[in-house]
């Protein structure tokens, strides 16, 4: 496409750097500095998309972040396709492929436009009134049809090759918005030496000064003042300038989050650059200088392509050197459009200005448009054209509201101005209270809650000299300075307007479709319908009509909807209220929000000291909390079942070796350590001798088991506490909570030693044979070192805490050495164990072995509703101690009922069926649904040692049901199982002493 609408001169584009991109497959010529929107307009493209509901043809309405219409899919290469980009914010970049959305088969010819013909039915809220007959049609027909029609662009379906990063920063003053107010604020703050960050969503800093071609500031053209300001700021080391950076969220305690677009504007970005950078800034003070959004005017068919905001016309002409039309009609209720009309006229375009205000209300702005056709006291009754506007139908209105003869003003572009809405989004997000200004017909910042101030247009100031002065003072004040500065601006900014709702019309207002929310196709009559149906709260209107809920979040439309509501209810706007603004100000990619958090960085992976050895020896790993633990060690041709069977056999008959390093470890020391444990655990600790271990269940104050582990007394004032793998942090936190807040008088330290100690479990009848040659100074004989004892000494010259404990039922040791030495010790043990067939085993084998003995796993055999007595461990609970954590709760009425779920064993009657963990248990399979469930299977394994599957279960009144037959669910039905005590192999526990065990239950 040739640049049919490019003006011969002017604009900030770089005419020396032409580039091409495509729109719906057709080439578009552009210059560096263009946006996609300005380039499309330069190429004479008006039709840019289809609306959400009625599929009406739509063009470019705005020049910035508030664009509701021109939403495009942008393709930057494989995996880099994303929908719903505002053409006004996408910088024209060589090689981009952009495409319009929400139409079929094409933008020009869209069958969805049939909805436009059905619009008398498809009014606000019609969904709620229909699609109910017949009932089954909703899921099968109506909803799929509605969904297919809804949505805008197409979601990406390929993984994103781009990177996103986070940056955390602190500053004294964060200035949001680099228009005249923000620049002045940043300069004033920077002069004090304060650390300043100045961010702006546009590619170039400058805001409205980027299209200010007439004003002079302190005697210099605005562009020159802008260049100087930017240069000044760029030269300062205490200032960070962030163009292309949108402050989208103002969170608690001056936490402001911004997203910086780093590469989207680069045709060939360096591969090490992230696509976006999320800035999380904790600012001492914030200066909000976010400007204002112009409002369109509401009249019938005010949405045709070519109809845009008046100031946007000015921006395209002045900043981009583009004529959005050759014949432009401005319609305004205020002064600012006069400047736009004058600039368009100066660019050689045919200009007409229609002012809805009576002639008498027009002030000095009249002088700006000498020579322009000027209609005052007129209304607009409609527009002509379809895919592009061809004319506006206007008519005079008398003082008493009589509409005169219509005239059609031919045009190929219209610029609407219905006043300005200060951008109070960030202020409102900061929880500041808004106050209403009748003269602006808009909300402005009122009282602050956080440390921020608003300056310039976002605070309701529109005169450039005042904006600059306000910005300067605001920036200085934010930096704790009282510096003030006046600015001389010529000519004066045309300001002021008359608030209007829907433009006066002689047509039936119930039939006129005057669009307010362009993207969601909400018209003024939709708002009135909602009110008629009783939706009087602004939030109700919003939700019923969907006004303001599109991707632009109503930046151009909210005040109009509020105004109509105010008029209809005959209540002033402040009494109607406004909706709360919430982050984000403009849509933010998920990528920017998550940053680098993918894969391993999504959640850190914890690896035990012997992880690499296990990986080298073919271990399959499982996730346990943050840990990755060796699950089993398959040999060639083995599946998990075979590997586990082999590993179990080795432990029962020879010796196995297991990395238990993930066990939580806490060193509890101090003169009151024993007293502390005595209060924390339900069993007794005062009399435990140094050198001895004891198993402890830990309860929360509610009486339920929340962790367990073996505790060793190293010395009178030193205990080595172990916890479950996942439980270490919460156990330590639990201890600290009581130590610091309930019993600060106790002299105790609790220190995490989980990472310090590697734990090698050596288990099996031959464990001592393997270990003995490596231990330097500990007598391993059964007499000197019995079960549940702890010795300190050396192994291979390395200090160790050697535990004689068993979680397998076999005689065994847990060798604690400093993590750095773990691999050497492990490899030595493996070498020494070779003659005994030493076998590394994983967590699955550990589970099988412990289940054969009936040892519980907290979190698997318990679920936070289980007491010690439920586990059959009531005997561990001290009756003598007056108090311990959880004791009082155990005395509550429901904690002692006989029908509580109790831990039992289950053996399937067929001797073959492996129960599923989680399977439910009933007494009678013939009862009707819903059935009475007695409990569930908590652990279930195929046991080679027992020659059959074994299971543990929590069963209501289970201990009284020993030898009963119950029925357990299977994927296809039930299987019968006998209730037995929960210990299947060596129930007397003799094997821990290395004596050949007794037989199994089975």
């Amino acid at each position: 496409m040739p640049q049919s609408h490019r003006l011969p001169r002017g604009g900030r584009i770089d005419r020396a750097r032409p580039l091409h991109f495509t729109f719906n497959g057709a080439a578009v010529e552009a210059y560096a500095g263009d946006t996609v929107a300005s380039a499309l307009l330069a190429n004479g493209v008006k039709l840019a998309g289809r609306s959400f509901k009625y599929h009406r043809p739509r063009g470019i309405l705005t020049h910035g972040a508030d664009e509701p219409n021109a939403l495009l899919s942008v393709d930057r290469g494989p995996g880099r396709v994303d929908p719903n980009n505002r053409a006004t914010m996408v910088e024209a970049t060589a090689g981009l492929k952009v495409a319009s959305q929400n139409h079929w088969p094409s933008l020009e010819h869209d069958v969805g436009a049939v909805n436009d013909w059905l619009s008398p039915v498809f009014v606000a809220g019609f969904y709620y009134k229909t699609f109910m007959w017949p009932r089954a049609f909703w899921d099968k027909f109506y909803e799929p049809a509605i969904r297919a029609a809804a949505g805008l662009g197409v979601a990406p379906d390929a993984a994103d090759p781009d990177r996103y990063v986070h940056r955390h920063a602190h500053c004294d003053v964060l200035v949001v918005g680099a228009g005249p107010a923000g620049l002045a604020a940043a300069r004033a703050a920077a002069q004090t030496g304060a650390r300043v960050i100045l961010a702006d969503e546009q590619a170039e800093l400058g805001g409205s000064l980027l299209h200010e071609t007439t004003a002079h500031i302190d005697g210099k053209p605005a562009a020159e003042w802008l260049a100087e300001s930017r240069a000044d700021l760029a030269a300062l080391a205490n200032v960070t300038l962030l163009p292309r950076t949108t402050a989208f969220g103002y969170y608690n305690h001056n936490h402001i989050v911004l997203t910086e677009r780093v590469t989207d504007h680069l045709a060939d970005p360096a591969p090490d650059l992230p696509r976006e950078r999320l800035w999380q800034v904790r600012a001492k003070e914030v200066v909000i200088a976010t400007g204002a959004h112009e409002r369109p005017l509401a009249f019938a068919d005010n949405d045709r392509p070519g109809i845009m905001l008046a100031e946007s016309v000015r921006v395209y002409v002045n900043r981009y050197g583009v004529a959005p039309g050759r014949r432009i009609v401005f319609v305004t209720s205020g002064a600012s459009a006069y400047r736009a009309a004058a600039d368009a006229k100066a660019a050689g375009l045919d200009v007409t200005l229609v002012d809805v205000r009576p002639d008498s209300a027009i002030g000095a702005e009249r002088a700006l448009i000498a020579g322009v056709r000027h209609l005052t006291g007129h209304t607009v009754l409609g527009s002509t054209g379809r895919k592009s506007v061809t004319g506006l139908i206007v008519a005079p209105v008398t003082a008493d509201g009589i509409i005169g003869a219509r005239t059609t003003l031919p045009c190929d572009c219209a610029g609407l101005s219905g006043g300005w809405t200060p951008s109070v989004h960030l202020f409102s997000q900061s929880r500041g209270k808004l106050s209403f200004r009748t003269d602006l017909d808009a909300f402005v910042p009122g009282s602050s809650v956080q440390k921020e101030r608003s300056v310039g247009a976002c605070a309701g100031t529109f005169d450039l000299a005042a904006i600059l002065a306000e910005g300067w003072a605001g920036g200085a004040a934010a930096a704790r300075s009282e510096a003030a500065r006046d600015f001389a601006v010529t000519p004066a900014t045309p300001v002021g307007f008359k608030p209007v709702r829907v433009l006066r019309s002689d047509a039936d207002p119930a039939k006129v479709r005057a669009f307010l929310d362009f993207q969601n196709d909400v018209t003024a009559k939709d708002i009135r319908l909602a009110i008629r149906e009783g939706f009087e709260s602004v939030e109700h209107v919003k939700r019923y009509t969907t006004t303001g809920m599109a991707t632009d979040q109503g930046k151009t439309s909210n005040m109009a909807a509020l105004g109509i509501l105010s008029e209809a209810l005959d209540r002033p706007v402040p009494q109607i209220g406004t909706t709360t603004f919430r982050p984000p100000y403009t849509p933010v990619t998920f990528g920017a929000i998550i940053g680098a958090s993918r894969d391993a960085l999504f959640d850190p992976i914890r690896q035990a000291p012997l992880h690499d050895w296990a990986a080298e020896h073919g271990a399959v790993f499982e996730n346990v909390a943050l840990w990755r633990r060796a699950w089993y060690f398959p040999q060639a041709g083995e599946d998990m079942h075979a590997a586990v069977r082999r590993e179990c056999k080795a432990v029962r008959e020879g010796v196995g070796i297991f990395d238990a390093s993930t066990l939580g470890k806490i060193e509890v020391t101090g003169p009151d350590a024993a007293e502390f444990l005595n209060r924390i655990y339900p069993n007794a600790w005062l009399k435990l001798e140094p050198g001895k271990c004891r198993y402890g269940l830990m309860l929360k104050e509610d009486g339920f088991v929340f962790d367990d582990g073996v505790v060793a007394r190293i010395a009178p004032d030193c205990f080595h506490v172990t916890t479950t793998t996942g439980g270490a942090p919460r156990v330590l936190a639990h201890m600290e909570d009581y130590l610091q807040t309930e019993w600060p008088d106790l002299k105790v330290f609790a220190t995490s030693t989980t990472e310090e100690w590697a734990v090698i479990a050596l288990q099996g009848p031959r464990a001592r044979d393997v270990l003995a040659p490596l231990v330097d100074d500990i007598d391993l004989s059964p007499e000197a070192f019995p079960h549940m004892a702890i010795r300190t000494g050396h192994i291979m010259g390395i200090p160790t805490r050697l535990f004689r404990v068993s979680f397998t039922g076999e005689m065994g040791f847990e060798i604690n050495v400093q993590a750095d030495h773990a691999r050497a010790v492990w490899e030595a043990l493996v070498a020494r164990g070779a003659p005994f067939g030493i076998t590394p085993y994983g967590t699955e084998t550990m589970h099988v072995l412990r289940a054969e003995r009936g040892f519980i796993i907290v979190g698997q055999d318990t679920d936070g509703t289980v007491t010690p007595d439920d586990l059959g461990l009531g005997g561990m609970v001290s009756k003598a101690k007056p108090d311990f954590v959880g004791k009082r709760s155990l005395a509550r009425p429901d904690m002692t009922l006989p029908d509580r779920k109790q831990l039992v064993g289950l053996l399937t009657e067929d001797g073959r069926t492996l129960l599923e963990e989680g399977a439910q248990i009933v007494a009678d399979t013939r009862q009707p649904v819903p059935m009475t469930m007695l409990g569930h299977v908590t652990s279930s394994y195929d046991s080679a040692a027992c020659g059959r599957p074994v299971a543990m279960a929590l069963v209501a009144g289970g201990r009284a049901r020993i030898n009963d037959t119950l029925h357990v669910t299977t994927p296809t039905g039930f299987t019968a199982a006998r209730v037995v005590p929960p210990a299947f192999f060596d129930p007397e526990g003799k094997r821990v002493n290395g004596i050949a065990g007794t037989n199994t239950h089975a």
């Binding site: 969170y251 305690h253 001056n254 904790r282 600290e736 807040t741 007056p882 009082r888």
Partner: protein, 103 residues
């Protein structure tokens, strides 16, 4: 994200902290002396105020110390933070946010 002031370390971002719920609920001296209802009240009942809330925080990823803080639950503004064992400071909340709002 809140900015939480640890009385030992100063102001730090919230992710360094663990919030431990309402403060000044002391564990009874002799739990066995309490009725079931009183024990349940200790364990579970919370004032959950709309206004100033005294709450426990622990500087988990910092000094590890527990401390108490006063925060307005409407604005989320901290009014004070103080060490365990110190009495609750007398801070009066702005009147518009301290009233007991209810539907």
């Amino acid at each position: 994200m809140l900015l939480v002031t640890c009385p030992y370390c100063g102001a730090r971002p919230e992710i360094e902290f663990h919030c431990g719920g309402e403060a000044h609920i002391a564990r009874p001296e002799t739990p066995s002396a309490l009725s079931d209802a009183d024990w349940a009240a200790y364990l579970f009942e919370r004032s959950n105020p709309k206004g100033v809330h005294a709450e426990r925080w622990r500087h988990l990823h910092g000094c590890g110390r527990w401390f108490n803080a006063l925060r307005n639950t409407v604005s989320d503004t901290f009014l004070a933070s103080y060490r365990m064992g110190e009495p609750r400071p007398d801070v009066s909340a702005p009147s518009d946010t301290s009233k007991a709002g209810a539907r």
